[in-house]
Symmetry: C2
Subunit: 316 residues, 2 copies
């Protein structure tokens, strides 16, 4: 794989930035390395929330109200599952189910997740490469203050990330291999982008797959991160609360500290402009820009700024 731009990606925030990137850069020259540590098996089906959010969003098929799932979805299966008292707190729409049916079927045939993801990406007509960070099973486990360790979706969806957390680990990460071609792609890329995803539970697991953090750190000068923390808060999800609970400063400075070994540049929002010097004091170049992507224009503008951070001149 020889894409010029490799993006380390979680779910919604990464997907939005990628929608901008595919508009300002040839999609075939983009690779998204996506977190799979929040994958889960539900009803026997292998669900890959971040992979699906990226694909559905780039295909223009995502539910715009939630940022995940499909627009115009129906819920017959979940409604019927209520009759049995089945698991319905993790909502799988009828059309979304097809993705999990297909993925599970192909895994059962022995295909690996990267191959299956390429098939799914292609079926949606996308030209960029969407790659799970690993074909192996990795799994974010969250230690809650009140209930001990639980699975990530138990924390994120079932408990709506409203419980206090004392630790996060990525089970299976030590034994995992990076997806075929990923380390090589990181070595060849002209620019590596760390998307504005949760640093703890989205980007964290991506970097924890053996070989990935080292490969990114080796390219530190060509790595630009976009802060998911804006004005001291996460735009979506529990990144802010998790950072605080795990002892990090919940600010763009805290983000800079988390990424200082792997990224040379941090893009922060204009609202945080007063913290630019503090970010630079951590050892990163700081770019101030509008980072809130509430429409395609703002996502495209941010993508242009990110690509402009390339020391190697990625063409915009």
């Amino acid at each position: 794989m020889t894409q010029s731009v490799v993006t380390l990606a979680g779910g919604v925030g990464a997907a939005k930035l990628l929608t901008g990137l595919i508009r300002v850069h040839p999609p075939g020259d983009l690779l998204a390395a996506v977190n799979t540590a929040d994958d889960t098996v539900l009803h026997g089906l292998h669900v890959s929330p971040d992979l699906d959010t990226v694909v559905y969003t780039l295909a223009g098929a995502v539910n715009p109200d939630t940022g995940w799932g499909l627009a115009g979805e129906t819920w017959q299966a979940m409604d019927a599952l209520d009759r049995y008292g089945g698991i319905t707190w993790f909502r799988l729409g009828d059309r979304d189910l097809a993705t999990h049916l297909y993925r599970t079927h192909r895994l059962g045939q022995g295909a690996d997740l990267a191959t299956i993801t390429a098939e799914i990406t292609s079926a949606w007509g996308l030209e960029l490469t969407v790659l799970p960070v690993t074909n192996d099973r990795i799994e974010t486990r969250v230690t809650t203050v009140d209930e001990g360790e639980i699975g990530f979706q138990d924390y994120f969806v079932r408990r709506r990330h409203e419980v206090a957390v004392s630790a996060v680990r990525v089970a299976g990460s030590k034994q995992a291999q990076p997806a075929p071609g990923l380390v090589d792609a990181l070595g060849r890329a002209r620019l590596i982008v760390i998307a504005p995803s949760n640093p703890i539970v989205s980007i964290g697991p991506v970097l924890e797959v053996p070989g990935v953090r080292q490969a990114v750190a080796a390219r530190r000068d060509d790595v630009v991160a976009v802060s998911p923390i804006v004005g001291g808060a996460a735009l979506k999800g529990p990144a802010d609360r998790l950072m605080r609970e795990l002892g990090h400063e919940c600010s763009v400075v805290g983000v800079a500290r988390l990424y200082r070994d792997v990224a040379a540049t941090l893009v922060i929002d204009e609202i945080d402009a007063h913290l630019a010097n503090d970010v630079e004091a951590v050892g990163l170049s700081c770019v101030v820009a509008p980072t809130i992507m509430d429409d395609i224009e703002s996502a495209t503008a941010l993508a242009r700024i990110v690509l402009g951070c390339s020391a190697n001149g990625v063409q915009v």
Copy 2:
């Protein structure tokens, strides 16, 4: 289990007779022992077609046009699966999917199929006991003349049972245990009914589970079978063709020969009245009655006749 009436059941024909039986006999005093050899794993989901047909039919929820699946079903998941080139020849409706999601989830938790089936039956508000003939995996395998051995649903659904067959076997049957309580129930029942299901691929696998044929044969005097062959043809499905291809006479006499060791009485349709003596020559008492169940009244009337065959006076 001490139900007075135990019915050996396949899918559609059995389900229709059972709709009659629950109207003329207390449902709580009925047990249906259902074929599971046409169960299949699709997309990682455990699908039990005969169990579901019996439950959906008795719940009044079955699709009346097909005899399987749910009335008013939607097909979003299958339509979406087409995008991926997934398996869509076996149609799983959106609401029907919930049953397979629940069953697969519970199996994954370690629950056995009989327990799960009881939960599903109860969720639909049914009082009769629906019991898979075994909790173990048994699987009808069909040797086709042109393609060798294939799975049952490959034969039945995908090829629409339009191919020539030279042999049928039930994989796993030698190692299977009858469902807990089934042999005992067969020993205690006042009447055992063999439903008008396919003798080769529905009733055959039920009898092939070790201990079941012996338990039924030991009660032969109290066993009444309803012929699924009417006027030399199956009302539905490939029973007629399969019987011929496997060397059986495709008539009520052929049915009588298949069941002579396990049933004392055969109910045949009025159209076959001229064969009653031939049936009796095989060694079964022959009851002539209208056996085509095209509405609830005809199913109820047939159920009354079947119960009337009891030497032990099951109350109608």
